[in-house]
Amino acid sequence: MSTIDTLGRGNAFVRGRPLLSVVFLVGFALLVDLVHGMYTGRIPLENVTRLFWNGLLVGLILGLAGIGLSMTYSILNFANFSHGDLITVGAFSGWSVTYLLAGAGATEFGARVLIDANLNVTVLSDPFAVVVGLVLASALTILIALVVDRLVYRPMRDSSGISLLIASIGVALVLRHLVAFVYRAHTRGVTGGERVDILPVFEGAGNVSVNTATLMVVAVTLMIGVHLLVQRTKLGTAMRAMADNQDLALITGIPTERVVTWTWILGAGLTGAAGFLIVLERGTLDFNIGWGLLLLIFAAVILGGIGSIYGAIGGGLIIGLTQSLSTIWIPSDFATPAAFSLMILVLLFRPSGLFGGVSTA
């Protein structure tokens, strides 16, 4: 009786949602294959742990960088295409500062400001320079974002989301080419040549460098900080209120322009920090760094549910892990398409994303 019931329900589910059933089936098959492969040694355990670790790292980066995008979307109601180039601004401005401090006296001023000196900075060799660089990456990105808001977005506050989106593409181009003009277009190595490993994380999976560990700790700390700010403070509550209903926020007496300013400060601050940390982990820097990440960040934010900071974090982790773990089965050239395919699949079943709905909550 109960078996028949279960079968009947399963049957109804498969007929009612055939596509979802196929997705579950494929996911299940992959999981079985993974367990089987690891059991028989066909898929080495250290490969899986290494890929998982890499995915986690990329996911944290995408999540951290995505929070600002999600925030500006929910408060200002537009998809900000210049977000990627705010990452670039953060990376260059922050590393200029770090190089200025780290190489003081050793190399000439110009080479340090333009990040062309060969300094091989690590967190251990120059902790002070890295910390100040990180803080100023945030501060300078905030400054640029506020200037852009005053010059471009504020006069357009009542325009449609599409007009603002197109304006933001213009801002993206201007920012990127300004960076390329000042720093020139070559790719440079920035961080330490010698890896300093501190944490043996998984047996055989390789160790974690100090720079990478720093990225993870700072990223998670900032995420927790944003969570507390949005959930526990008056400003955070006002931001959620504005995301819910701008008109009501206005007639409730919430000073909406001030909340918008704070949204830029928070969003751009996190984005600038993300830019700095990405370089700390990657070790290289060029003027396309943010633009190259933008589509993946959009994928993460949309998959998670645009407008939600938790969606940005969750979506970032899912995209990062998918991209990384998919290479167990497919060539790495297809890793990014796999991540985007997963995003499309999620949207087919949950059009508003995993953490659905427009809300900073």
């Binding site: 509550t237 959620r240 209903n245 009501l248 206005l250 007639i251 000073p255």
Partner: protein
């Protein structure tokens, strides 16, 4: 002297003029209702007072000072509360957070006001940590009023508070509005439910096609043959 004095108000949206030469007056503890057919511009009166419609002329004086052209947060500061008809709570915020937002312009949430609102609407205290989106229509309406009462306004403007509520809830809601008025807050209410509103208010305005048609006590408007025939369904 009247608390709110609107004279010769012309207003609308963009180029479209809705209100023409509207006069309105509310005393310090009065309960005034604006009734009239659909599209008469009832809600526009409130939106113009609050600076949300396009102001085209006339004077709006609150507590002796002209308030036309002021930002909503400045108007709130002067003691005017407004509860719009739809979407009048923040659905993803908790009930208590909604109330706290009502006191945003103060540096601290006034504990005694919160207490008073909870005493007035006990259901809100019961549901204080629930998200407002999960409340019923009647509870939302109470929450919206509670939020506007957080600053202890001298005048509370209510736009169709009974819209969409079940009949037994409408009675309860009007009783609560009476109580708020009895406690010394002036009420300006726009209502679709004209008979009930005129029955409860001190004075009523009948607004037709953007103009004042009748002004009188609620009682006399209800007795007025012409008003009954034209607007109250005989």
């Amino acid at each position: 002297m009247a608390l709110l004095e609107v004279s010769g108000l012309d207003a609308g949206y963009g180029d479209l003029q809705i209100l023409e030469d509207v006069d309105l007056e509310i005393g310090g503890d009065e309960y005034v209702a604006i009734v009239g057919p659909n599209g008469a511009g009832k809600s526009t009166v409130m939106k113009s007072i609050f600076g949300l419609a396009t102001y085209m002329g006339g004077r709006i004086v609150f507590d002796g000072e002209a308030i036309d052209g002021l930002r909503p947060e400045e108007i709130i500061h002067r003691g005017l509360g407004y509860v719009p008809q739809d979407d009048n709570v923040f659905p993803s915020l908790s009930v208590e957070e909604n109330l706290e937002m009502g006191a945003y312009i103060l540096s601290e949430v006034p504990g005694d006001r919160l207490r008073e609102v909870y005493d007035r609407f006990p259901i809100l205290e019961e549901r204080r940590s629930q998200t407002a989106g999960d409340l019923s229509g009647g509870q939302r309406q109470m929450l919206a009023m509670g939020r506007a009462l957080m600053l202890d306004p001298a005048l509370l403007m209510l736009d169709e508070p009974s819209a969409g509520l079940a009949p037994d809830l409408v009675e309860e809601l009007f009783d609560r509005i009476d109580a708020i008025n009895d406690a010394g807050t002036a009420i300006l209410m726009v209502e679709q439910n004209a008979t009930e509103a005129l029955d409860r208010c001190d004075r009523g305005y009948v607004l037709v096609q953007g103009r004042n048609r009748y002004v009188d006590t609620g009682e006399r408007l209800l007795e007025n043959e012409q008003v009954r025939q034209d607007f109250l369904g005989g």
